[in-house]
Point group: C3
Chain length 498, copies 3
């Protein structure tokens, strides 16, 4: 009898413990309580999601009292009203109401739809500040304000119509752009009036937003801030586990123009993560290499703070992802040192093109970080590698990476010389002829050479996802495309001489 | 001493509990017991698989007594012989023996190899009935009885031979078709005699089946029923967890012609599911959004019954997947409202082609659902979205989807006008010239424009997997292909005028 | 009060148990202890990884006392010095020091960087011996010593430069090759001197290795052995769970030239593994079908020892992967029976090309296994299938596989006849003209026909990943490419007659 009681008692303790650990450990503000009252039936998915979040289980004040190495809030002081409550609906969606053009009256609250980095910065100012220096925060302007890139957008997205006069390419409309390039780069969100809707609680007024929905990395928000923390820290759980997993990056980094996830997926690193990751602790702060995890995801190399078993920091957290990156490998004709500042649309080469290199590959150095800074960044990345690898392994790897980048740039130079000859010989029309360098069949082959295949080879080298350096959009296609460009040049040149 | 005994007792209780929970909770029929006796050594994999199934742990009678919202059997009455036993080998494989042409005598039982929807309908009649109205159930006939599609099958699958007379394309043989198109669409399974085999239990007679193995969605079964529940509910665990995961749909929906899974995999939804799904409950019936799961898999949007925290049904379960789909986006030249009935091979356009649109894009409306029905279906889909998203998010999303579909259809119209001109000008031979519209090089470019790239853009818009709308088989390739078609038209037209 | 004490006691027992189960159960040698002292701060990732390994938890002596069916060491006797200690850093990295050209003095130990199959063979001799007979062990020489393949490497990897004289293809350099083909095939690791480096423990001397890092399957090691066990058994956990998961094979088998993982990923098998694998036991030795797992990963079919519920062995473990494979489907022009010996570079066809078939498809039988051996191997593979499937299913499957292989070979013959005519007619230059058969535009189409599309169709048939047999690099592309080759042949032949 006694034993049974003991067992029963033990089971009760267990259940209570489990219950308590998932229940709120902090008060919820009255405002948030009001939101939840309706929204747990209106949008049960996100309410449930939030309930599983750290935001729901801790107040900024308690969070800020953790030892430095465990802290996930970087603010030192918090507004009195927020301090002691869970970070709930109202805390974020009524924050900074005045600066939010999307604020509207909603059941007695001044609510805004779009939560922005400025809002997040109340508790996470260091991360938001770092992110401002990140290329990604400028992804809208870097694309939109670069007239050369806009020519690429036009030939990619502009719809074709066919008439007696010929084939006509329209300028791509806003919806199409929002559904393609700007889906990841970020849209401009503007308030376009108000609309009254019938809801289960009667008629209600809502703002009409253009460019919405969007969670692009460089989104231009109604409070003028840039970016969207939810690109990676998905609403409404804002799970660090999720941000640390590579599937988060996959959303924008899988296509042939920027195949980072694809390349990673065939690396030894991904092999380990996918096979054994289920046994790891993706939530630990600090994040201990060899204890919590034993192979890198994207976050490990590019963002996360990593500590060793004694709690020594191997590398500091950064939300300026270029901090550990010396060279830009993707999206442009040639590799080059990263831009000094994150707004790359201000760069101009000697031809007046908004490119960080000349068409013949030389860097437009005045806009780019110098070799010292590049080496410093590389040394930071190497610190991550050295968590598991010896110096001879790491040095051997990067020697090969540099070589593959160099050779790829040479190959792209060959492709570019061919297209420049084609422009010169009137086979097609390029910038010097006042035309887009991207819109003719031969030019598109040239674009694929660098945008798809050159990038892919460089990425494959950098992340050891070798398939993407050989037959999967790699050297086979790169060199085949150069051969084809050459054949076209020769054939057309001969034809024009007949 | 006492404490030790308590601990020991507790551990024993634990082990017993674990054991009991995995053990059968119902009787197994004598017939099934006979099957297992041999088959646990002959085919241990599937016996073990079945033992983990719900079928092995519950009888139809007990299953049917659950509250409506938890019920997974939809029959009200069950044959007396089945009622109180686990649903085992004999229950399914001797069911409806008389109507099964594949029934054979096997160790004293009348066994059939191919379990069909008719068999499943004994316990799951509602699901089977719904599925009959599903396009998928008709996937065999919809392909096989459409003479136009058969021309596409021929140019895709027909083997090429080379002789003095030229290149010759054979009609694809049955094996090749069963190993390609009909692998997913479903084969016809017929009895082609009997064969005697040596087994570890002596000589045995088995039926010889053509078209076997196959688990295609529109399989024509030996009892004349259509479809195969095991396409998605894989033998022999028939796990609801599996059917709800996107990997089930991946089997047939990944290629460039129907890249649903591929598109999904780069969406935010897939990001959440892949990163956090391991913490979710994929087995719960009812399935509670925000509690059991917090982002959609394929099943969530297209099939599953979803309830909120209070058990209110957001959307009813359906096995007619088109119930929540207004527009068909895939596999055809233009998007269009879904067919009224699932047998699409009966559709004819004004040219007599079995197509739901004219070659110039106008819908053949008499065969298709009207706008009212389309809006009704869309509103069902939106109910799923609204489980997590606000109306402004959902409306914004679908506004963009409609726009991308419209623009894509316009682009495809441009591509089609070019190929129609090519047919008219004798550059290649199309339907009006009594020839296949798919078998020449230029025509294949046109096919890729709609079958691969147009589809991909529409899917990418619908499921927010944007990579597939831009550089990954998206607008870049769609528009490049149109440009190439144009170049061919101009070049050949000029050449013919010389 | 009493109950509380009992609970407290129970919790302590639990914690102790958890601690003990993860702690070392064997002594660590003094030498390894020395390594760990520094390396737990120098490379904490791999030390932590190793601590989770079986190597850290068991000594060879204890491991060897397990019943045969559970044994994971195959040696009968072990060097005295190793016997009773955990298999730690020193045990592997100082093993066989004399035969290791990469041995160097490191803090009083003779350490080598590259652990080789010869080192692993001390405890796992059977596996290493089997692997020696595996094609993979010879992957370096099979590529490097085949002059025909080297022409394919050249056109794939050789960088293009552009000058007044024309387009020039360089011979690919060592770094480029190590970063592409030889990344998977394996590099040659040689000692190129010594280097002194500043470390946190002062100046230290290290060997300089060429071809490093690399873990290719046919790596040529500094002790002259071939291969790298860590290709699949990744350092330093050497997890059997990982080797059994398909992500391990993905690293080298995903690209269009050898899409085994890609094809698998759209199979029903992968669907089951991905959806339900999280509930399985990937660590069990023996590995019980139906109990530990219920659908195959790559390892199940090609390597693992599988037992049924009674512990009866369905199929023996093999590290000679070709043991269960009758036909080679990949990487070559036509399918053919596997080579008798794993060093395929010794094969010569009647034209003197190092190919297992003539250009017209006939097997060079004297080098290949005969039909009896092929059938024996097929019967081994079928034993795996029969763990879950009936004979009629399995026979039906392989009938279709054979047919698809045959038809694909016929199609490739058609493609090859076209290219041979092109060579004969001077449209391009092939082997008979003393030129590479791979380096011209038309030839590259021919290469893609067999290396990408033909392979893909055959793989799709064999592994039931049908998408890859139809529109995803399958019959659509195979037949389209043949049509294009034909068009080129006709067009050029006509042009040359003008």
């Amino acid at each position: 009898m006694r034993e049974r009681m003991v067992v029963a008692f033990f089971i009760i303790v267990f259940i209570l413990g489990a219950f308590l650990s998932s229940a709120y450990s902090v008060d919820i503000s009255d405002a948030t309580q009001s939101c939840i009252e309706c929204h747990s039936s209106v949008t049960p998915g996100i309410v449930g999601d939030w309930k599983r979040s750290v935001h729901a289980a801790i107040s900024p004040e308690i969070a800020s009292k953790k030892p430095n190495i465990e802290r996930r809030v970087s603010a030192k002081h918090f507004p009195q009203a927020l301090k002691t409550y869970a970070v709930g609906c109202a805390e974020c969606h009524t924050m900074n109401a005045a600066s939010h053009k999307d604020t509207f009256e909603h059941n007695g609250f001044n609510v805004h739809v779009v939560v922005t980095p400025k809002d997040c910065a109340v508790c996470h100012p260091v991360e938001v500040e770092e992110y401002k220096g990140n290329l990604m925060a400028h992804a809208y302007g870097n694309l939109h304000n670069n007239t050369l890139y806009q020519l690429l957008v036009k030939t990619t997205n502009g719809s074709r119509s066919y008439s007696a006069q010929g084939l006509f390419t329209s300028s791509p409309d806003l919806y199409t752009n929002a559904d393609s390039c700007y889906y990841c780069h970020g849209t401009v969100i503007e308030i376009k009036g108000k609309v009254t809707k019938d809801t289960q609680f009667g008629e209600m007024m809502f703002p009409v937003l253009s460019g919405w929905p969007n969670h692009g990395v460089g989104r231009i928000n109604p409070d003028s801030s840039m970016g969207s923390c939810t690109s990676c820290h998905s609403r409404h759980q804002f799970s660090i586990e999720m941000a640390r997993k590579p599937y988060t990056c996959r959303e924008c980094h899988k296509g042939p123009d920027v195949p980072a996830y694809a390349v990673y997926s065939v690396s030894k690193h991904a092999n380990i993560v996918t096979s054994l990751g289920k046994h790891w602790n993706f939530k630990g702060v600090p994040w201990r290499v060899g204890k919590d995890f034993s192979a890198p995801t994207c976050a490990v190399c590019h963002i996360s703070e990593i500590v060793d078993n004694e709690g020594e920091v191997l590398i500091k957290r950064t939300h300026k992802m270029t901090d550990r990156l010396p060279w830009r490998l993707l999206g442009l004709i040639y590799s080059h040192n990263y831009s000094r500042t994150p707004d790359t649309d201000r760069i101009k080469n000697s031809m007046g093109l908004q490119l960080p290199t000349e068409l013949t590959g030389e860097s437009v150095s005045s806009y780019l970080i110098d070799e010292r800074e590049a080496e410093l960044r590389l040394s930071k990345m190497k610190r991550v590698c050295l968590g598991c690898h010896s110096t001879s392994w790491v040095d051997g790897h990067f020697k090969r990476v540099r070589h593959s980048i160099k050779i790829t740039d040479q190959s792209i130079l060959t492709a570019t010389k061919i297209i420049m000859d084609a422009w010169k010989n009137g086979i097609c029309k390029g910038p010097s002829q006042g035309d887009s360098p991207f819109n003719e069949a031969m030019e598109k082959k040239w674009v694929e050479a660098w945008l798809f295949y050159g990038n892919s080879v460089r990425y494959a080298a950098a992340m050891a996802g070798t398939d993407y350096g050989v037959f999967q959009n790699g050297r086979w296609y790169l060199n085949k495309t150069i051969d084809e460009l050459w054949d076209i040049l020769i054939m057309r040149t001969l034809a024009s001489k007949k």
